[in-house]
């Protein structure tokens, strides 16, 4: 259990009668980037939401199986979900900055978690924005509204906001699908840097992106994890015909 930061054991998930995840056994390595690919509706977003219990809030959603985070099943009744979401952050497809200043966006999490000292907050805001490769661009406008930033900057701000509470894992659900190629390139570079300190799990429908930035790739289809392995192997020599057909576009 302790070799992997996240490990699932026989996970099944239903949205009412829809069996959305079927028998998922998967291991996420620490300080690596793991990508999930697959056609729309295959369950990849559902799966990463399992990792921080984001599906809890969806009515009709039922989950079976175990999801270990550092050896502890996060679905055990004694688990504090808020604590889990502090340690496992999430970045969404569309940047969703709060309608407040750049500074307050990043300081929001730490304040909620009880940090009050202005000096400490300044330090956290700067460190988080630097880690998200945004500091140089917003240094002069920390007190301005985050809504005025470009899409790519907003997404990096959301990453900075996630980093501010010092998570161990960052989940990203198609984080660049709403961004132009240049902003996408910046996020991709950022992901590669982030893995030095964090574990990243990224859902993407851009296979070239998965190939570029991830160490491990999982291919999902109709709720099942069809193939999981090192990214180079998956894209150069997949072992399952279904994976081969998907990544070479011979699908449907």
């Amino acid at each position: 259990m302790t070799d992997y930061i996240i490990e699932t054991e026989d996970v099944n998930l239903w949205y009412d009668d829809n069996h959305a995840l079927i028998d998922i056994d998967m291991q996420i390595q620490e300080n690596k980037v793991t990508a999930l690919i697959g056609p729309s509706g295959c369950g990849k977003s559902t799966l990463i939401r399992v990792f921080d219990r984001m599906n809890d809030i969806i009515t009709g959603c039922r989950i079976e199986g175990k999801v270990f985070f550092k050896g502890k099943n996060i679905y055990d009744p004694d688990v504090d979900v808020i604590e889990i979401r502090k340690r496992i952050g999430m970045i969404f497809q569309k940047p969703n900055p709060f309608p407040m200043s750049v500074y307050d966006n990043v300081a929001y999490g730490p304040i909620i978690h009880g940090i009050r000292s202005r000096k400490d907050l300044d330090h956290i805001v700067r460190r988080s924005l630097e880690s998200a490769a945004l500091w140089d661009e917003v240094e002069e406008r920390l007190d301005q509204s985050a809504i005025g930033l470009s899409g790519g900057q907003q997404q990096r701000l959301c990453i900075a906001r996630a980093l501010a509470i010092e998570p161990e894992v960052i989940l990203m659900d198609e984080p660049t699908s709403a961004l132009d190629p240049i902003a996408t390139g910046k996020i991709e570079d950022l992901v590669t840097n982030l893995k030095k300190r964090y574990t990243v799990v990224i859902v993407t429908h851009n296979m070239q992106q998965a190939a570029r930035i991830s160490d491990y790739t999982g291919f999902m289809y109709l709720g099942r994890l069809i193939e999981f392995g090192e990214t180079v192997q998956i894209f150069e020599k997949p072992s399952k015909e279904l994976t081969e057909n998907y990544i070479t576009g011979r699908f449907g």
Binding site: M207, Q208, A211, F235, E236, K237, P238, T243, E244, I247, T248, G249, R250
Partner: protein
């Protein structure tokens, strides 16, 4: 992606055609040598520019497909195989041209003996090229079997031709000029067999994703 796969299939056909041209150049150059047929030798020499143009065209198309579609898995391996394969095929064609040039020079007086080993070598090498082209086309591994053994035979023939020529040259220095050509031709054919083995390795990789060595046992 259907358009991509149609274009990739068409490109594979072009590579196969190029392979047939390279093989024909080699086969005909040796036939021209054996029969002292300068007309046939000139046909081979005239194909040199053509194979170079085909090489450039296929390379451009392969790179174009890679840039446009960013192929993965077997598609990517096929593009990689094509890019290496056309270089080897061009070299085989150019060796055909070199042999044809020797054939022109050697047409002025009779061969020092009946040519046996060189045509036999050429037959084996052309057979090797046909096998790799078949494997490339059908994406089956079976034509690649025993290619290493054939390469060993070709190597042995080259040594045998070399020794034979040394004997002729020591006995009669007037044969040196001709024998130098025979030795070079045997060397060209041996290189063509090596290129066929290299193509076989790339085709094997294309089909399976595994890198293997073919024809290294006596090198």
């Amino acid at each position: 992606m259907e358009k991509f796969h149609i274009q990739l299939d068409e490109l594979k056909d072009e590579v196969s055609d190029m392979g047939i041209l390279a093989r024909d150049m080699l086969e005909k150059s040796v036939a021209a040598l054996k029969d002292q047929d300068t007309e046939l030798a000139q046909w081979v020499i005239s194909r040199k520019g053509e194979i170079r143009v085909i090489d450039s065209e296929i390379e451009a198309k392969a790179l174009h497909l890679a840039a446009l579609y960013q192929p993965m898995a077997k598609d990517m391996r096929t593009i990689a195989c094509i890019l290496k394969m056309i270089t080897y095929l061009t070299r085989i064609g150019r060796y055909g041209k070199d042999i044809a040039k020797s054939a022109v020079e050697l047409s002025e007086k009779p061969h020092i003996a009946r040519l046996v080993s060189i045509p036999y070598m050429a037959e084996i090498v052309c057979g090797m090229i046909e096998r790799v082209l078949e494997a490339f086309k059908t994406e089956e591994l079976s034509p690649l079997e025993s290619l290493g053994d054939k390469d060993d035979t070709v190597d042995a023939l080259r040594h045998s031709i070399f020794r034979e020529c040394i004997t002729y040259m020591s006995e009669n220095p007037k044969t040196i000029s001709q024998c130098a050509h025979y030795i070079m031709i045997a060397r060209y054919l041996e290189r063509c067999a090596d290129h066929a083995c290299k193509i076989a390795e790339k085709v094997h990789y294309m089909i399976t994703g595994e890198h293997v060595e073919i024809g290294y046992s006596t090198d």
